[in-house]
Amino acid sequence: MAVCVAVIAKENYPLYIRSAPTENELKFHYMVHTSLDVVDEKISAMGKALVDQRELYLGLLYPTEDYKVYGYVTNSKVKFVMVVDSSNTALRDNEIRSMFRKLHNSYTDVMCNPFYNPGDRIQSRAFDSMVTSMMIQVC
């Protein structure tokens, strides 16, 4: 159901990005890259006051003609961006939320791996298969 899933480091470079239609991967790169503007804006708008009870889910970042881009930011400012097909009306906010939560959990597992060097590209197979499951699920 997700068309593209990306994990972006605090310094705004991709740690992981995968898109379902592989032929036009760069399009999604651009889409996710530009969505960071909105993420930045939303983060700065939230301010520092409510750090502990901050909502990690950022909601819809922006809609395009064919896709909707959703964002999620962890407490360590790692961003998750998910692009879904806008024709897919079955996806409600709640589903997106739970997908992000799954993604976050899986990401935490990756970070727990003592052999993973934070800041490197994510090459974990478990993470990859989880993303795959999110991409094909429902469809």
Partner: protein, 958 residues
């Protein structure tokens, strides 16, 4: 209305539009000179009142946009200024005719017009005319500004009269219906008497009056009118005009809230040149709205029908939040009309500018997102570029740099769209360059050398590829080489193997036409492209300056060294100095290089590419000393491990030399890689002292070279080793040829020797020489040879090995009690290779266990030339390996009583184990000749207890 003005901002609603146009042939330069002067008069405070008029000048305005002037009066061209050249009175009527034609174009809306004639002189100019001004030439026209001010005042008079006219005739005659061009046909045959229609007319007129008030500088009045208009139009669902009324309301509020302006560049203009800046500021400060109630203005000019509105003045102005809501509402109304696309688009742009001021980027991005989807008719390519550029600019304004870069890139791509017959690669390239910050990409490789990679590699790579392509199509191969080098250098970690191959392939293609250099490239726009050194091709891990080989290493004379230290500081120890020295030591290496001698630097490099990397012209970059670098070429296998490379060079002068880096040529790109900029390079210091030139000595000897290498204790290395095998007691001459192979004369020579094996008891001089003869040949000029002779004598004690003695003793006398020591034996044998084969049973003298080894080092300290004057010398060591074999054995010792009781005969059976004839001589006895393998008895008279006896073997000529 089809051409959107993307530069519009909310405060443009209060401006009067004046078109300035040339008529006939006016050079662009002259026209814009005058245009600039005219447009400097953008703000006029009308006399007798505190109102300010704002003028917007255009030198080009599509007449179809003018047709929307009733809808929003700031779109209406109210003034026309024509500029023309006219040099003779004969042309004058024609010129004047042209002015009238020009006037016709905007005729329906013009309040007034002016013609500026340049060049005409004579009686025509004498006629006083208000609408024509004559100037002799473009330089001599000081009065232009004054003229314009007068002109604007005349515009104001018309405006004011119109405003009053429209405002008062409210209830009298029938109010005409204002409409936009595309509406006209809709109203044919409509019942003009219905309430609905009347209300519509009223509402639209109100809105129109509001516009006029706004233009006339009566902000508060306009707000009131807009509010009323909104009420009226809402009740009749006249959406298009309702939108316009709302937008007018927003514009007036924006002007009220943000006197600095929202359009950026206009903001600066607003106060400058104003005769009452303080007052203007007061007027617009939101908190000081009471000042706005300008009683004078109201009583004298403002025949305001709605005096009741005075009460709600402060309320009339929308709050910042409301402005945005109303904009949203207005835009939603506009969007109902396909023909109002331009209006909608412009409203979006205006709203974004306001939001940018309010720092509400999220809302602004929504407006922009909407603007992206507003579909105007089929746009020309140029318009598309303009549209994308302005979107990019607006995104930049609200701080969405990535989005801005995205649209700029789209605009750049549009410049070279396949549908364009003449692609604008230059424009494309320029726009692409502007997108760089948005992708957090700078073209300076230094920014990438430290730490982790910044930014989004995939999109950065794409952009770099596009830059390469655009610059190539622009016909600037140097630029493409630079960009491609940058791509390769900074994105190496992100390129796949295939991409690496492709990139290097195309780089090689480009560089064969235009080699990459280390020069700063200046771009057409002014910025420069810093050079891109290939520090990753190959990657250097360690840089180590190598000392000279031991034999060439310069050494300081001891006494001078002491002096040197003492000049540095009078203190033996000072913590401050020690600290300084410590730092210095980090950088400086404690050996010296010698001028004129080849010096080496070792680099550990590796090739990160999946194919063989050819590095050409690799040499050292140094400073401080003239250094002749001898470049090397190397070929590194694919993904090699650490690979040592030695770079060499010859220092030509003396002083402190610093190795700053190295230069390479890879794929046709020259790179100067400085060590300071290299991450992760281990270096043990890079500064070394170069001392003046010293001679070089080469020695060759008469003896064969030895396979043995001495193990010197004190660490000094031996350049040559020679070995010789001698019989005990033998002496030999070692002839050493000293050749000066350097370029400096050899002036001094000192020879010392050092014996390495000390456990053997050695009799007499092992090595002896006479240096005087050699020194007589000095100074030794380059290329000359001197000889030096060393005498080797071997006198060793082999006594403990004489086990033959026991084996051969036949008379039962125990010899163990005898303090028997071997006599001195002297054997001088030139031939040593043959070993005694006919040795008697039991003992093999040639056996290694019977041989003794003597090792010595001959040190040649030499100096000369300028290095000598500085107190340096060189040390050359010759290793000498001597194997000594025993020559004679005592096989039996017996005693016989002699004639005197105080004497006895000592009988020694002497065995010659060599295959040469020997002479044995004992003190006081005759000489005994021993043939090879022979054993003879020697009798010695022993005179007294404790007296030693001597037995001497002598050389026997073969």
């Amino acid at each position: 209305m089809s051409v959107p003005d993307y530069m519009q901002c909310a405060e443009d609603h209060q401006t009067l539009l004046v078109v300035v146009q040339p008529v006939g042939i006016v050079s662009e330069e002259n026209f814009f000179r005058i245009y600039k002067r005219i447009s400097s008069v953008s703000q006029i405070s009308v006399r007798d009142s505190q109102r300010v008029l704002y003028i917007r000048y255009r030198h080009h305005y599509p007449p179809e946009n003018n047709e929307w002037g009733d809808f929003q009066t700031h779109r209406k061209v109210v003034g026309l200024i024509t500029i023309t050249d006219c040099f003779s009175a004969k042309d004058w009527p024609q010129t004047f005719e042209k002015f009238h034609v020009q006037k016709e174009i905007y005729g329906s809306t013009l309040y007034d017009s002016r013609l500026f004639v340049f060049g005409l002189q004579g009686e025509i100019t004498e006629q006083p005319r208000t609408d024509v001004a004559f100037y002799p030439n473009y330089e001599d026209c000081e009065a232009v500004e004054k003229r314009i001010e007068d002109f604007i005042e005349s515009l104001f008079i018309v405006l004011e009269s119109k405003r009053l006219d429209r405002a008062t005739d409210k209830s009298g005659d029938k109010i005409p219906l204002l409409c936009v061009p595309f509406e006209k046909k809709d109203f044919v045959g409509l019942d003009t008497d219905s309430r609905h229609y009347k209300k519509r007319c009223q509402g639209r007129m109100r809105k129109h009056v509001g516009d006029l008030c706004l233009q006339a500088g009566m902000l508060q009045d306009s707000l009131v009118h807009y509010h009323m208009s909104v009420e009226l139009l809402r009740s009749v669902n006249d959406f298009l005009w309702l939108g316009a009324a709302l937008e007018g309301l927003c514009s007036a509020s924006v002007i009220c809230h943000y006197p600095g302006g929202t359009g950026g560049k206009t903001g600066a203009r607003r106060f400058q040149g104003s005769s009452l800046p303080a007052e203007a500021a007061n007027r617009h400060r939101p908190g000081a709205q009471e000042v706005l109630i300008d009683p004078g203005a109201l009583t004298t000019n403002g025949i305001n029908p709605d005096t009741s509105a005075e009460i709600g003045r402060a309320k009339n102005c929308l709050s910042p939040e409301d402005i945005i809501d109303k904009y949203k509402e207005a835009i939603s109304y506009y969007s109902k009309y396909k023909n109002a696309g331009v209006i909608e688009l412009e409203a979006c742009v205006k709203a974004v500018r306001v939001l940018a001021i309010q720092k509400r980027s999220m809302d602004a991005s929504e407006f922009l997102q909407n603007a992206v989807y507003i579909n105007l008719r089929q746009l020309s390519e140029e318009e598309k570029i303009q549209r994308y550029s302005i979107l990019s600019e607006l995104y930049e304004l609200i701080g969405f740099h990535r989005k801005s870069a995205f649209f700029k890139r789209v605009a750049a791509m549009q410049c070279v769209a396949p549908s364009i017959s003449e692609p604008g690669w230059r424009a494309c390239y320029k726009l692409l360059l502007e997108t760089l910050p948005g992708y957090s990409l700078s073209l300076d490789p230094k920014d990438f050398s430290r730490g982790t990679h910044r930014g989004w590699a995939a999109v950065q790579m794409r952009l770099l590829h596009e830059l390469v392509y655009a610059s190539r199509r622009m016909g600037n191969p140097a630029l493409s080489v630079r960009h491609l080098s940058f791509l390769l250098q900074t994105m190496l970690d992100f390129l796949s193997d295939q991409e690496k191959k492709d990139v290097t392939q195309s780089l090689e293609n480009y560089t064969c036409k235009c080699p990459g250099t280390m020069e700063l490239l200046t771009l057409p726009g002014g910025p420069t492209l810093p050079p891109v050194p290939f520090t990753k091709l190959p990657i250097v891990r360690r840089v180590k300056l190598l000392n000279l080989p031991t034999s060439l290493r310069p050494q300081k004379m001891k006494s001078l060294l002491g002096q040197n230290v003492s000049t540095k500081s009078p203190f033996i120890y000072s913590p401050i100095i020690a600290h300084n020295r410590g730092e210095e030591r980090n950088k400086k290496i404690d050996f010296q290089w010698v001028q004129g001698d080849v010096c080496e630097v070792q680099l550990m490099v590796y090739n990160p590419m999946p194919f063989e990397l050819r590095v050409e012209n690799m040499g050292l970059l140094t400073s401080g000393v003239d250094f002749e670098s001898l470049p090397a070429a190397l070929s590194l296998p694919a993904e090699s491990g650490l690979y040592p490379v030695t770079l060499v060079g010859v220092p030509q002068t003396t002083g402190m030399i610093t190795v700053n880096g190295y230069h390479t040529t890879v794929f046709g790109v020259f790179s100067d890689c400085l060590l300071d900029n290299l991450p992760g390079v281990k270096t043990s210091g890079s500064t070394v002292e170069v001392i003046p030139a010293l001679p070089r000595l080469q020695i060759s000897t008469s003896l064969p070279r030895s396979a043995h290498s001495l193990q010197p204790s004190s660490g000094d290395e031996i350049s040559t080793n020679v070995s010789v095998q001698l019989y005990n007691g033998e002496a030999q001459q070692l002839v050493i040829q000293l050749e000066n192979i350097g370029t400096e004369p050899l002036e001094t020579l000192e020879v010392t020797s050092r014996l390495l094996t000390t456990k053997e008891k050695l009799y007499g001089d092992f090595l002896s020489w006479n240096l005087e003869e050699t020194l007589a040949q000095f100074p030794l000029q380059p290329g000359k040879v001197a000889t030096f002779v060393v005498n080797i004598k071997v006198k060793l004690d082999f006594s403990c090995q004489e086990n033959l003695l026991q084996d051969l003793s036949d008379d039962g006398i125990s010899v163990s009690g005898f303090p028997l020591c071997s006599p001195f034996r002297q054997v001088v044998r030139p031939r040593v290779e043959s070993k005694p084969v006919n040795a008697p049973e039991g003992g093999k003298p040639g056996d290694p266990s019977h041989m003794k080894t003597l090792e010595a080092i001959l040190n040649f300290k030499y100096s000369g030339g300028p290095g000598h004057a500085e107190g340096y010398y060189r040390n050359l060591s010759l290793g000498l390996h001597v194997e000594a074999e025993p020559s004679v054995f005592f096989t039996r010792v017996t005693t016989l009583p002699a004639t005197s009781t105080r004497q006895c005969h000592l009988l020694l059976d002497i065995f010659n184990s060599t295959e040469h004839e020997l002479t044995v001589s004992a003190r006081g006895n005759e000489e005994l000749i021993l043939h090879a393998g022979e054993c003879q008895r020697l009798a010695v008279v022993r005179r007294a207890e404790g007296e030693t006896w001597l037995c001497r073997t002598k050389h026997c000529a073969d």
